[in-house]
Assembly symmetry: C2
Homo-oligomer: 145 residues x 2
DNA sequence: AGCATTTTGGACAAATTGACCAGTCATGTT
DNA sequence: AACATGACTGGTCAATTTGTCCAAAATGCT
């Protein structure tokens, strides 16, 4: 049960802030910008990756790049104490992009990303058929405004 | 009115796919992985940036890194034809991270990220006071499961 | 004070980048 | 068919960056 998460200090956070703005910034440039030795940035970055504080690097893409994708947010109500079971089932659905517990009128909020309307439709059906899901409400995300 | 967006071809998409998985991959490595000359990758990448298909590079951070942040999804109902006005007002609220029109029981879906519960509370109040907002339902996102 | 860890500044070879260039290929045009 | 255009290739080159060392200095902890 190794669960003690690494707690980033101020320098770590400054490194991360820079990398969030420019994930391809060179270590040399970072070290200059932060006023520390290059080796230090290198060590910190290694540690941030090892400890899982940083998950990886990626590229930000224009919003409509994946134009074919269907996005929606689905509110889910779970009956009784079956939440854990339901979560396990939901986790197995690839199109569920993120899943949060919530406190409002609903129990779970699922972020759905499907690659077609038929995939999307299948996901809805699958979710509603899960034992313990008593109610749900889905809002298709249309244009981003 | 220059609005004609650059349409990425297959090679562009393969480059982007690789960069999504590893945003720090070197051009040399990309060129080897994709089987094209380095100059080609270099040119494509430049063009993808120039045309705004790629917005920039960043780092993926552990979900609970910004632990102090309060996240929620807010469903909003708008009365009559005031949607455009309401959107304009909502767009001025910094804590509204993303905003989509939708087709379900609601008219808008807002993704909220505040840095404290009091900020969050203020946002809720502001939204509800906007003229044209007839109803809303907010779900605080608790743990990610 | 004494020890462990981190940071620093320096070094070095290897890798990567940016900028070129001439030649080839595919495409569409006249 | 001949041509112009643009993209791709494979190559070079200098400059930058990276990975990997090292010893000394600084820092933190007991």
């Amino acid at each position: 049960m190794e669960n003690a998460k690494y707690i980033p200090d101020d320098l770590d956070r400054r490194i991360i802030a820079h990398l969030r703005a420019d994930g391809r910034a060179s270590l040399s440039r970072l070290s200059k910008a932060l006023g520390v030795a290059r080796g230090t940035v290198q060590n910190r970055l290694d540690r941030l990756m090892e400890t899982g504080t940083l998950l990886g690097f990626t590229v930000r893409v224009r919003e409509d790049y994946d134009a074919q994708s269907v996005r929606a947010v689905m509110m889910i109500e779970v009956v009784g104490k079956s939440t854990t079971q339901v979560i396990r089932r939901l986790r197995g659905i690839a199109e569920i992009y993120s899943l949060h517990t919530t406190n409002g009128n609903w129990d779970l909020v699922a972020n759905i990303r499907a690659s077609s309307l038929s995939d999307f439709d299948r996901v809805l059906r699958e979710v509603r058929m899960i034992d313990g899901v008593s109610n749900s409400e889905t809002s298709l995300l249309l244009s981003s405004v």
